[in-house]
């Protein structure tokens, strides 16, 4: 069992999904899915512990040795992301029962959990695999499941959103496939480690650059990096609240992981002659995203849409850290990847609770919600403070490292822009806080749903996690430091 640990986080949900189909009763399907997600989380945590002790764990799928067979290769970087994705997947799933009951067509409940598990399996597969083509396969699994999940939204606009996402996502996936095809054509291998060894031998090949360009554009589409973000606001707004929470906490994080993996483990961005222009591109786009996303969020009249735009801004910070490209920069990006999942998880779960209670997420409907749902709103405030980067929350740690990385590489203007844009975050969070606490609630609307204990518990749990990781940062900081060193240390002289 232990020797197969590397594949377990992927295998469990992948096998669990078809098994879940058999369970017709939604409650049973939910409980089963939760169990599976929990086991995947336990396996991922074990993996993290082992990689911290042993370094890299390599697993040959089906006993076929790399580079012929598919290799699962777990180092600190993907172990951390695996733990994060499985933990967030599990927490959101635990919280989901009441919200799914409130927002999704009853006939689809059990299938909803099947799609959820498939999506989780796909995301975990992308992270665990060491094979470029296998990565593409898992990307498609997770994407297809995501389209189905998004389409489960409350009204027909969800169908349009899902369709939009399907078109954009497919373009992205195609680009990635073309890139991988180019790589296979020039090197004859699909194994990432093997690619990393062979690519430098080719020297300055135009095909390799083209391959990298295709992959980067494809991944940035999935990442929703400005200006490839157009699918995100609609998708996040129209999808069922639980799906939004799940996607916001996991999908963009996995896309960032792929970007980092390809840029630094496979292509050695830091040594190639592309580095300079790409660095400028990532930093510029990241800064524009951070400002534009936040500005749109400030003027949003719908909380969910505002938070969706906020995600675009936050992706901008991660792009900046990849663009900085030093060990400190990568570390900052990974820490923010971790912390941002916690923040957005807490915020979107709180939104799910609001939807359940008042039936919508416009500021009009949410007036005075602070008095009606004090605990959920308190959790939202904590998540919001973390998003701003108030000391004592996880977001502060992210900001600290990002500013530090910018200063270390002597990009003073960038450091200033990063802190200045976080002020915009404060504006849109405070806009909601004023609505929630200072406005009088609209009278007459009783809550249509029973209070959702699990949803509240999970929301509070994530809010507490935001506080906890603001004080005890050993897990994200030490792991990301090791991961960043690995990424840059893998450089072939």
């Amino acid at each position: 069992m232990i020797s197969h640990l590397a594949v377990l986080p992927v295998l469990l949900p992948l096998v669990g999904a078809p098994a879940c189909v058999v369970l017709r009763r939604p409650g049973a399907a939910w409980a089963f899915a939760c169990g599976v997600a929990f086991l995947a989380f336990v396996a991922a945590s074990h993996l993290l512990v082992q990689t911290r002790e042993l370094g890299v764990i390599s697993y040959a799928l089906g006993g076929w040795a790399a580079p012929w067979g598919i290799e699962y290769r777990i180092d600190l970087l993907n172990a951390l992301v695996l733990v994060l994705v499985s933990a967030m997947g599990m927490t959101v799933l635990l919280a989901s029962r009441a919200s799914v009951r409130g927002e999704v067509d009853p006939s689809r409940h059990s299938l909803f959990y099947v799609a959820y598990l498939l999506c989780l399996a796909g995301l975990l597969g992308i992270v665990a695999t060491g094979d470029a083509f296998n990565l593409f396969v898992f990307l498609e699994i997770s994407s297809l499941a995501t389209y189905a999940l998004v389409a489960c939204g409350r009204d027909r606009r969800a169908l349009i959103a899902a369709f939009n996402y399907l078109i954009m996502g497919t373009i992205g996936a195609t680009f990635i496939l073309i890139g991988i095809g180019f790589l296979y054509m020039t090197t004859g291998t699909l194994n990432m480690l093997d690619l990393a060894v062979r690519l430098p031998q080719l020297g300055e090949s135009q095909t390799v650059f083209a391959a990298y360009a295709f992959i980067v554009v494809g991944v940035c589409l999935k990442l929703a990096l400005f200006p490839l973000h157009l699918w995100l606001p609609g998708t996040y707004t129209q999808a069922p609240s639980i799906v939004t929470a799940f996607l916001a906490a996991t999908a963009t994080k996995v896309a960032l992981y792929v970007l980092v993996r390809f840029s630094f483990s496979v292509f050695h961005l830091e040594t190639s002659r592309l580095a300079l222009s790409l660095e400028a591109i990532f930093i510029t786009l990241g800064v524009v995203a951070a400002f534009a996303g936040s500005l749109v969020a400030i003027y949003a009249t719908d909380l969910k849409r505002g938070l969706a735009w906020s995600s675009i801004a936050q992706v901008g910070y991660m792009a900046i850290s990849v663009g900085i490209g030093t060990a400190a920069g990568l570390q900052a990006g990974l820490i923010h990847l971790f912390n941002h999942a916690l923040m957005k998880g807490a915020l979107f779960l709180a939104v799910a609770a609001y939807v359940l209670r008042v039936g919508g997420t416009t500021f009009r409907e949410l007036r005075g919600i602070g008095q009606r749902m004090p605990l959920t709103t308190a959790a939202f405030v904590v998540g919001g403070l973390s998003l701003i980067g108030i000391p004592g929350t996880a977001g502060f740690i992210s900001k600290w490292y990002l500013v530090m990385a910018a200063m270390e590489s002597e990009r003073w203007l960038l450091a200033f822009l990063v802190v200045a844009s976080s002020l915009l975050t404060a504006v849109y969070i405070w806009r909601f806080i004023e609505v929630a606490y200072l406005e009088k609630p609209e009278s007459g609307k009783a809550s249509p749903q029973k209070p959702a204990g699990m949803l509240l518990t999970c929301t509070l749990l994530l809010a507490l996690a935001n506080l906890y990781f603001g004080f005890d940062t050993r897990l994200p900081v030490s792991t990301s430091a090791g991961a960043a060193a690995n990424l840059l240390g893998a450089r072939t002289p």
Binding site: L385, I388, G389, I390, P391, G392, I397, K399, W400, V403, M404, M407, E408, A415, F416, V419, A420, S422, L423, A426, V427, W430, E434, Y437, L438, F471, D472, T473, R474, V477, S478
Partner: protein, 488 residues
């Protein structure tokens, strides 16, 4: 109790009463009794810290590592002990006052008021005892956030506007200037701990230090240095007890206190004196000091006038820091105490006038002396303290600040301080004088504020006189700072 235990207790006591205050939300008497009890207890604990410090004990506490090599630290040093004693004493006095004021004024949401008040005080204790910049910054930010509900207490559109300016400027300056300054300090010197003589190597680039000083001075927005002072008049929309304790004492003093700590323990007086941008900032502080006084003269609203007067008085402390000589540091530190007692008395009086007569404008106060002789008498005393005249405490702090300016040969600043004192006399002391002017018309019947308010006014005005009579207590407490050994 051990030294570290005392420090932690000082932070925890105001926090621990919050659940109690919240639970007693329908029962005002026990709720307010709880607040009073907590503030009395806090004074005792801070006195305990004071005694331990006088006996030469080391009081320090550390958390686990927050970031590699960086912990949350608490440490008692003279300046912090002074600040904590002032804040906790005046918390008790203000709570007494608030009981009278909030009830007489029929304010809503009083539970929220007392709860966030206690939280703010906890943050102030955190700032007072912070052992490094990270800890200071943590409590500094939480203080801004926890006072916001108090500023928007009325929940009107005007209150919200005030709240936005308040939070926008305080968070804005701290995030855009203060945080980068802290990170830059950490990056340059690999420590954030307050250290006697400063943390920077002598060969640190002068440009870097000059930039850092500018970032720190503007970053500590709570010190209300122009041009980032607008939040303070905006905060006047809060109920009077909030304006009195937080926006005349706790929050603004947290600002100048932070500046003092940064000047003394991060830069060190020698390095600070040699920093290039110091002179420019010094003149900015002087400008702030005079300009705020001039603006104050033009304010008819009493609370607004007091707010601008506070901006001016805060600039005195900033000036003391930036002069960077022992006398000016002594003067600046003492001014924290002197101004605290004087200004809180003035705000108490403004609130008392509001409660008793519903008057808010200076022009309405002519002849009020007959009606409220006690309040106006206290007002006169406190305004003398602000101007720096005997028999009040303000005399001493201004004395040392003047000495500081003479010592550095900056005679222009000496003149500025004198001019400012005259301006203080004009825009503050004239108010009670005209209220008592014999020919002034006005109702002759006595009509004072509720008794709780009067007790508070008597206590704080008495403090002004006590500080005049016994300044040596203060002087002895803070003298180790200037003789080189403040930190434990």
């Amino acid at each position: 109790m051990s030294g570290a235990g005392l420090l932690v207790a000082s932070l925890c006591i105001p926090v621990t009463v919050i659940p109690g205050i919240t639970l007693l939300h329908n029962r005002p008497n026990p709720r307010e009794a709880l607040s009073l009890l907590a503030s009395a207890l806090l004074i005792l604990i801070n006195l305990g810290i004071y005694r331990s410090l006088q006996q030469g004990q080391t009081l320090a506490w550390q958390s686990g590592e927050v970031l590699p090599g960086l912990r949350l630290e608490l440490a008692a040093e003279p300046l912090g002990v002074l600040f904590s004693l002032i804040a906790s004493t005046l918390w008790l006095v203000t709570t007494v006052y608030a009981v009278g004021y909030m009830r007489a004024h029929n304010e809503g949401n009083q539970t929220r008021f007392y709860a966030f008040f206690a939280l703010s005080i906890a943050c102030v204790m955190g700032i007072a005892f912070a052992g490094n910049l990270l800890t200071l910054f943590l409590f500094y930010e939480v203080l801004s956030l926890s006072t916001w509900p108090l500023v928007v207490h009325a929940q009107t559109e005007r209150a919200r506007q005030g709240g936005r300016i308040y939070l926008g400027l305080l968070l804005g300056t701290s995030i855009v200037f203060f945080l980068p300054a802290i990170i830059l300090t950490w990056w340059t010197s690999s420590t954030l701990s307050f250290t006697d003589g400063g943390v920077f190597d002598p060969d640190t680039s002068p440009l870097l230090l000059a930039v850092l000083l500018v970032l720190f001075v503007f970053g500590v927005g709570k010190a209300a240095m122009m041009p980032f002072h607008r939040w303070l008049p905006a905060a006047m929309v809060a109920p009077t007890p909030v304006s009195a304790l937080l926006h005349a004492v706790a929050v603004v003093k947290a600002g100048v206190f932070s500046l003092l700590k940064i000047g003394i323990y991060i830069f060190g007086l020698d390095q600070l004196g040699a920093t290039g941008s110091r002179e420019a900032l010094l003149y900015l502080a002087t400008f702030s000091l005079l300009a705020a006084s001039v603006v104050a003269m033009r304010q008819d609203n009493l609370k607004a006038r007091l707010a601008y007067s506070t901006i001016s008085q805060l600039a005195y402390v900033s000036l003391g820091v930036l002069l960077a000589v022992p006398d000016s540091i002594t003067g600046g530190s003492m001014h924290i105490a002197m101004h605290a007692f004087g200004k809180i008395t003035l705000f108490f009086c403004a609130g008392a006038i509001l409660v008793a007569t519903h008057k808010t404008e200076v022009s309405q106060l002519q002849g009020l002396g007959r009606q409220m002789p006690f309040t106006m008498g206290a007002f006169l005393l406190a305004s003398l303290s602000i101007a720096g005249l005997p028999p009040t405490g303000g005399t001493w702090s201004k004395w040392y600040l003047m000495l500081g300016t003479l010592e550095t040969g900056a005679w222009l600043l000496t003149i500025a301080l004198l001019v400012s004192s005259i301006l203080n006399l004009i825009y503050l002391t004239l108010i009670p004088v005209r209220a008592f002017w014999p020919s002034a018309a006005g109702p002759r019947r006595m009509n004072e504020a509720p008794i709780a308010c009067c007790i508070a006014i008597a206590l704080s005005a008495g403090g002004c006189i006590a500080l005049f009579l016994f300044p040596q207590v203060l002087y002895q407490l803070i003298s180790p700072i200037t003789s080189g050994g403040g930190m434990p």
